[in-house]
Symmetry: C2
Subunit: 574 residues, 2 copies
């Protein structure tokens, strides 16, 4: 089903076989002209054409451009966009009939977790469960189906989706799997749920203390209840066996397949570990890396070990680069780790968890910026966002130039802080689909008066800021069409709430497309390579049955690509 | 002075410009033949020739083959060896006149520390010092010349070379540099020497305890004296700042230059750290890796993180591969860390340091072997060597196939153990130049009765074992011609002792050449790529003023290459 990186095989649409030779388009200089030089200098010999498409791209200003044919060079880059009147090239190496499909630039996810997606897909996934009982049944079924091996590791639970009204407990798992350690991460990765066997294996007792930036959920008696939030997760996680390299390699390939089949041709990886990087390089070395990965290291140590003195080169034909580091200012809203300026509406003694002091945050940012690495700061609560903006303002005194600071999520921002994004050229890397997953929970956590700056995409744009869209997979489904539909409508899969949630924050179809393409690329210094279809840019595109600029939100939400092309080669076909 | 990886510029010898196109020698298949295809299929268009040489290589059996011309394909591999009678090809892309120089295969160092060599060359180097006073003067001079920066870090001291009769002390450094922490590694990397400021910075006191496998040298009063042996080095090392990435990158380039100018075209790296690997990949990604590096990870964790499920591919055109892991069974002889069956002659209460229990060693070897990684075990003392051989015998029951176990150094081997090398196909990776550096010290450490199996190269071969030679740089000078001279003569630079030290252990010139080429390649699964000049092998070779097979040991010791070629490109020219 999936093509390899090698040139695509001849398809039903009458393709001639592609030339494999002389990939360097610059003709060599011989002492004395030869027929050879003349032949090589004839570009048309190596081009391809996808014709008869409803072609859409945005220009650098974000205005829609339309075309009906796309000429691709044998270097995998766009050669030309043809409209209806243009003559088609005569000398073509291959030609595809687009059959009236809509062709758009490949969509770019500015915030995902590649290996996380892969591991979720290859391990116990509780993200579909609608009740604690359903989750317990799934855990038991997995244990029965996977009797060998000690630990059961999984992900995806969300007590809000269960309507539980409380965190789950160790006893809830003990009831179905008492004899093996079980460790399950919450859907957002910001909390973990252990059974008693896992607590014993990790040596966690009533005397255990959470590190700063974390919280052990306790029973009324003061014993560990089974759930660990943010930094406290480490207390159990350190006992969980690491995945084997072959499991990591398999997870990576699976993630790549999922993303390409969803229409994602490039993605940021927000927190690449040394093991993740090595797995991606193994795949790239083998010629199997098909998607483009913009890597952000999971720590300064990982960053400087791997990248050295500054961002790496673009590797594997513009498919991989480590350009910066992921930092965390706070936790997540659902687990009350997001750091707020005022207490949680539903937990008046809590304001969340600020992970770093101002000095710590600025020191880490400084270490990155001094070597021209990019900084991506996770900030969900309004207090965390203002801390991040303060830090950016402070460091911008020292570090000049095109640094492209990023705030990831920027989920709950005090409206007075929103204009500060544009002032420093900071990119708001936001994930529309969070809004529809979270809106009821957000209302509970924040009360009615703090929602003005929540998931405030339109306000960011109106304030002059730049918006990069993504999904935060596997916390959410990676499907970019769902994000696109939500971005324009503010309604969830059930069309709730009617008319959209704070619909004044919706953006236009074109604005959302720009955030899922050009500005997602810009957010990773990739805007000269991907994000638009124009001569010299990579030929990354999707073929769709329908036109997303005309579709209703419901139709848009349901879209899947018929084909996904990366670097002028077909990488997925439905 | 040094060429880059790009094709060499036209030289004085009348070279025509090389073709840059169509590096894939397999002509493409076109539907319909074209002139293009015919032209590409003509191999001679892309070949080069080095003519008029006294060409020497060994065949697979180690027999000398001679030739006068070497034809190299544009893929950088040997096309043909021509003798005097053979017609020279007419269609050549370039041609060099060897002017009667001797051409031999590039020499391969089967045991070195690439970044160690580079750091030594770019930091305080005490390896030439002949007395404590000279070392103190060098330390002071370095401190004066490098006033900024806190720590002074250096390497290369050897109290035996100073004739000191004891280890140096912290007070010895305090006398010249009292106010900055100083940390100096012994020449063999198996001991470290700190001043008082370093002890304070690292928090080392009279209460500090050495980890297993190490020793804190103490004063009569029981306080730390300043020297830390083997595992105890960590007590201070953990406080030493890591090199910056740019320092590591500079060290790598420097090491490469030193090796190529010495005539080394490929080397094993015996203990690659994650930072080292990343630096080598950065250089390779930039097209700057000229030498070939056979990497052995510094730990199982490094190995599985980087390589995953098994040895990596060959990267950068057969220039880099991580194929195995470096383990340590004991320390070094000079610091009495080598693990002996009977006590040291000059320290009757000590038998040295066995670093691992039998179980630990076998478990680590097993973890590597189960994924077909190679294992290289440092074993210097006779007890360590027999432990390693026991472990190999044990694991060979479980792990079949072509595993190529390696023992590094195999320096002092009980004669009864020597035949066990061949039985399991174990490779003895030995460094001839150790013998001449060590012989007086070895006599002191071992007494007269345990020298039969010391540096016993001939016995290894006679026992049917395979010998891979190297230098263990930067513990020793990387110059392979010095090692070659010692291997055949058993005398040091001063010709001592007369007639050689236990000269029955000398090998022939051809045997030494085989150990520095074919079998060094075999020791890293590279024998189909390098080590011999034959069609299909990489064109890695040296041009020398004289014939090493005819030279006296003194002449051989002094040899340096006029030119060093790797992959059919000139990488060094004197």
């Amino acid at each position: 089903m999936f093509s390899t990186v090698a040139p695509a095989k001849a398809g039903a649409a009458g393709r001639t076989r592609r030339s494999r030779f002389a990939t360097n388009p610059a003709a060599p200089a011989f002492a004395g002209a030869t027929i050879l030089a003349l032949l090589l200098a004839t570009p048309a010999l190596a081009d391809g054409l996808i014709d008869n498409v409803n072609g859409i791209t945005l220009d650098e200003q974000g205005r829609v451009q339309r075309f009906t044919g796309l000429v691709i060079g044998d270097d995998g880059k766009v050669k030309a966009l043809l409209d209806r009147r243009d003559k088609r090239p005569k000398e073509l190496d291959w030609r595809e009939d687009g059959r009236g499909q809509t062709l758009i630039p490949g969509l770019i996810d500015a915030h995902g977790h590649v290996l996380g997606l892969g591991f979720q897909a290859t391990s116990l996934d509780l993200s579909g469960t609608k009740s604690l009982a359903e989750a317990q049944a799934a855990i038991k079924a997995w244990a029965d189906a996977n009797p060998s091996g000690s630990w059961i590791v999984g992900r995806g639970w969300n007590q809000e989706a269960w309507g539980l009204g409380r965190f789950p407990t160790a006893a809830d798992i003990d009831a179905v799997v008492p004899d093996r350690p079980v460790w399950l991460e919450r859907v957002d990765g910001h909390a973990g749920w252990a059974n008693s066997a896992a607590l014993r294996a990790a040596g966690v007792t009533a005397k255990s203390v959470s590190p700063a930036g974390g919280r052990i959920e306790k029973t009324a008696a003061g014993a560990p209840g089974g759930v660990f939030v943010d930094a406290a997760m480490q207390l159990v996680q350190k006992a969980v066996p690491q995945p084997l390299p072959r499991e990591r390699d398999a997870a990576l390939v699976k993630a790549q397949d999922i993303l390409l089949s969803s229409g994602v041709t490039a993605t940021a990886d927000m927190g690449t570990s040394p093991q993740d990087w090595a797995a991606i390089r193994r795949l790239g070395d083998a010629g199997g890396l098909r998607i483009r990965i913009f890597s952000y290291a999971d720590s300064l140590d990982t960053l400087t070990t791997i990248a050295g003195n500054g961002p790496t080169r673009w590797l594997y034909g513009d498919r991989l680069r480590m350009g910066g580091v992921k930092l965390y200012a706070d936790g997540a809203l659902g687990s009350r780790g997001a750091w707020l300026k005022a207490p949680y509406a539903d937990a008046p003694k809590e304001t969340g968890l600020g992970f770093l002091t101002d000095d710590q945050l600025q020191n880490q940012m400084s270490r990155a910026a001094m070597d021209k690495f990019q900084v991506a700061i996770h900030a969900i609560g309004d207090r965390a966002n203002s801390q991040a903006l303060d830090a950016i303002d402070e460091l911008s005194q020292t570090y000049k130039g095109d640094l492209r600071w990023r705030i990831e999520h920027a989920q709950i921002v005090d409206p007075v802080d929103i204009p500060r994004l544009a002032r420093a050229g900071t990119i708001a890397s936001m994930q529309p689909v969070h809004q529809t997953s979270d809106w009821r929970m957000a209302e509970a956590r924040l009360g009615p008066n703090r929602l003005v700056g929540a998931y405030a995409w339109r306000s960011v744009l109106d304030g002059g800021g730049r918006l990069a869209f993504g999904s935060d997979y596997p916390v959410e489904n990676p499907n970019p069409f769902v994000g696109w539909a939500v971005a324009i409508s503010r309604v969830d899969a059930q069309g709730q709430p009617p008319g959209g949630w704070y619909p004044q924050q919706a953006v236009t179809r074109e604005q959302a497309l720009k955030a899922f393409t050009i500005d997602a690329a810009y957010a990773s210094f990739a805007e000269t390579k991907v994000g638009r279809l124009a001569p010299g840019m990579q030929a990354d595109f999707l073929l769709l049955a329908n036109d997303p600029l005309l579709a209703s939100p419901g139709e848009l939400r349901a879209m899947r690509p018929n084909e996904t092309w990366v670097g002028g080669k077909r990488m997925f076909k439905r």
